[in-house]
Point group: C2
Chain length 233, copies 2
C-alpha cells in the first residue's frame, strides 16, 4: 500500500500536493475513482477517492479518517551534522523509522560542516514515514550555533542529556519511561570541553550510548532505539 | 590514533599486509622508527615499531600486546540482503560499530538479490573496526539458501529467533543476558509462511523488533542495539 503525503486535509475534499500527485497519477498511473491512502504527518491517515486527475488539481474525496496512536514519549535530538551529508540523511531516515519527534542541527566548535540543506533532509524524513507507514512527520529545525541553541528555555523536558565519549553513565541506566527527552550529540571530534560545561550548567546530564566508539549518525540511531525500547518494554 | 589490521601477528616481529602498508607508508607517510597501533581482529591490539618501509615488506617490531575484553554475549545475525547493496553495507558498518560477532547472508523465497560480493562487505567490516577502535572483526559467511542454512545444527545457541512483521513478542521481552544468540531477518517482503514454519520447527522463537515497520537493514541495527544494551544494563 502506497502512502501519500497531504498536509492539512479536511473533510469532505482536499487537493493532493502537486509533487505527490505527479507520483500518484503519472508514475503509479492511478485514475479517477481509485482510492488511495494519505497522511497529514500530524497523526492522521485517510482513505481518499480520486475525483480529478490533473497533477495541479488532483482533487480527493476524503472517505474515512483514522488517527494513529501517538508514541508514549517525545524525543528531540540535537545533532552536529557530519561532514559527509549522506551520513546525516541516513540518520534522519533511520531515526524516523525507529521513532523521533524533533531533530535540530547544531554548529559546534569542532564542526566541519557549517550548513545543511534542510529541505533535502525533510524529504528524507517524508520518504521514511511513507515507507514505514507512519502518520507522524518529525519536525526538522534549521542549523544553529550550539550556544544559541543552548540559550533556549527547555521547559517541559523531563530529561536532558549530552552524550560524549568518556561519560560513564549509560543512557539505559538513567532513562525514565514516558518522558519528553532532549539529547545532544556532537560530530566527529566530539563536543569541546566548553560546550560540555555549558550544557551541564543548563542542567543537561552527561551520558554514554554504549561500550564502543560510535560515529555521530550511529549514536543518533542507537539513542532512538534505546528510548523506543525502554518505553515499550 | 590510526589502527592498522595485521592478522596473525606474533612476537617479536611481523609483516604488515601490503594494502595496509601502502596506507601507512604512502598515504600517512609513516617512516622507519615510528610506532603504530595494530589489531589482529581476534581480540588483540599491539604497539609496533616500523623497521622497514617497503609496502611489500613493511617489517614491524611488536613492542607490546594488549587484549581487549570480549563482550559478554555472542550475536549472530542471518539476514536476507536488500536489493540495494548499499543498505547492506550500512548494516555491516553499523552492526560492527555497535557490536556483532557473525553475519550470515540468506537467500530467501522473496529475495530479489541472489548474490553478494562478500569481499566488499568484509572490507566494510574491517573499516568499521578500525574506525571504532575494536579488536574483534566479525565473521561474515557467504550467501546460502534459507533451507540450507536452517539445516545446520545450532548447538550452543542459548536463544534463536526469527523476526517478522506481525509477531507480538518484543525482543526486549524475551532476551536473556549473556547468551549466544542467533537472529533471522528477512528482506523486503519479509519471510514466507513456509520459511517461518520451518524456523519454528527448528526451535526458533518469533519476535518483533518494535512498534514500527522497519527496513531490513534498520531491523538488523535495532537488534544489535537491543542486544548490546540489555547486556550492559
Amino acid at each position: 500500500m502506497q502512502l501519500f503525503y497531504c498536509p492539512n486535509f479536511q473533510l469532505p475534499q482536499t487537493i493532493l500536493p502537486e509533487e505527490e500527485a505527479i507520483h500518484c497519477l503519472q508514475v503509479l498511473r492511478k485514475n479517477v475513482g481509485e482510492v488511495i491512502s494519505i497522511t497529514d504527518g500530524k497523526g492522521h491517515f485517510a482513505q481518499a477517492k480520486i475525483l480529478a486527475n490533473k497533477p495541479k488539481n488532483c482533487l480527493l474525496e476524503i472517505l474515512e479518517i483514522q488517527r494513529q496512536e501517538a508514541k508514549p514519549y517525545y524525543l528531540h535530538i540535537a545533532i552536529a551534522p557530519t561532514k559527509n551529508i549522506e551520513r546525516m540523511e541516513w540518520f534522519v531516515e533511520k531515526a524516523t523509522e525507529i521513532g523521533i519527534d524533533e531533530i535540530s542541527f547544531l554548529q559546534c566548535d569542532r564542526s566541519e560542516r557549517k550548513e545543511i540543506r534542510l529541505e533535502r533532509l525533510q524529504k528524507v524524513a517524508l520518504q521514511a514515514i511513507k515507507q514505514s507507514k507512519q502518520a507522524y512527520l518529525p519536525l526538522l529545525n534549521p542549523m544553529q550555533k550550539f550556544s544559541q541553541f543552548l540559550a533556549k528555555d527547555f521547559e517541559g523536558y523531563s530529561q536532558k542529556w549530552i552524550a560524549y565519549v568518556g561519560s560513564n553513565t549509560l543512557l539505559t541506566q538513567t532513562l525514565r519511561s514516558k518522558g519528553k527527552y532532549l539529547l545532544l550529540i556532537g560530530a566527529e571530534g566530539d563536543f569541546s570541553e566548553k560546550e560540555i560545561n555549558l550544557a551541564k550548567e543548563k542542567g543537561f546530564e552527561e551520558i554514554s550510548l554504549g561500550k564502543t566508539v560510535l560515529r555521530t549518525e550511529t549514536a543518533g540511531i542507537v539513542a532512538c532505539t534505546i528510548v523506543a525500547c525502554q518505553n515499550f518494554i
